[in-house]
């Protein structure tokens, strides 16, 4: 294998022979140490260190390549358990990939055993704080009381009462947001094998007008998926009437649940 012009791109590792029909011209599988690696050849020009630096600034390219990465893993996971690898995991040769399968074999097998018969689902919750405020402003007695008091107060006292009112509104707002996020997460966690909370993402990433208030992922046993989705429906009915939007997606490759245990900095 001379191929200075090409690199080996690893998409995922599977425990059964992956069916990659139809993707055969861009993919192949490598069997080693009782594991199957799904890989493809990519051009050094695009994925070499220099090339990748340039390409990562080209958002359309990133979007297309990352979309392909996802599509390939989804195809493989339709009939086997998979460990998804991070975007642009590259090797010089098939042999260096095999060496990696040798080195991490035991860990990969343990992860695949854990993932057997399970699916990753995601829940992101959004809300518009201003709209949420208008929903509870009229129904809060304490706030109306302060408002009445402001009307009959001096300028100075009125100033402090207004401040008190604003603080009260913020507190109620935070309580509402926390209640929605915490309750949704806890109830779904009970139906999951594992669950995790990820960092919130800003609007230029979410491409939504509302703020993200929860970003969570769940590893759900296949037998529990129906219950999990029923709970999502229940939460939607309950919270969407209160001004929240629940966005549940899946099943995903288990991106959030295949960290290599005990290795610092892995999958974090």
């Amino acid at each position: 294998m001379v191929e200075n012009q090409q690199l080996v791109y690893l998409y995922c590792v599977a425990d059964k022979e992956p069916k990659i029909n139809g993707l055969g011209n861009i993919l192949y599988s490598i069997y080693h140490n009782s594991l199957y690696a799904v890989a493809g050849r990519v051009e050094q020009l695009e994925f070499g260190e220099e090339g990748l630096k340039k390409k990562m600034a080209d958002f359309e390219w990133v979007k297309t390549r990352a979309g392909l990465h996802e599509k390939i893993i989804e195809r493989v996971m339709s009939d086997t358990n998979v460990i998804p690898f991070k975007f642009a995991t590259l090797f010089n040769t098939d042999d260096s990939l095999k060496a990696m399968l040798e080195q991490y074999g035991q860990e990969f097998k343990a992860i695949l055993r854990k993932l057997a018969n399970k699916q990753e689902w995601g829940l992101k919750i959004y809300c518009n704080p201003e709209k949420l405020k208008t929903r509870f402003l009229n129904s809060q007695e304490k706030i109306s009381e302060i408002e009445d008091e402001i009307k009959t107060s001096s300028v100075g006292k009125g100033y402090f009462l207004k401040k008190k009112k604003e603080q009260l509104i913020e507190r109620i707002l935070n309580d509402r947001i926390n209640e929605c996020g915490r309750e949704s997460f806890e109830l779904l966690k009970e139906l999951s094998f594992e669950a995790r909370i990820n960092r919130l993402l800003p609007k230029d990433v979410t491409e939504r007008e509302d703020d993200m208030i929860l970003n969570s992922a769940f590893l759900v046993d296949r037998d529990e998926v129906d219950d999990f989705q029923n709970m999502i429906d229940t939460l939607k009915v309950h919270y969407e009437s209160k001004g929240f939007l629940l966005d549940c997606t899946g099943p995903w490759p288990p991106y959030n649940f295949c960290g290599l245990l005990g290795r610092k900095g892995q999958n974090e």
Partner: protein, 71 residues
Amino acid sequence: MNNAVIKSKEITLLEILDRVLDKGVVISGDIVISVADVDLIYLGLKVLLSSVETIEKLRGSPFVGPMQEAR
């Protein structure tokens, strides 16, 4: 299975950033480009993601205690 929560066919920018680029197994060893190097060249993406932490700080930590990290 409930149809209401089936994932749409086209993967969104959001999910690309949140899953494909941010998660998945990371290995070291005999790979061409170390992932640390790749991280550094996320350029625009990195800027987007760093603004996330700012938002969280501004908001205060909404979920504290046992919910904080479910790793």
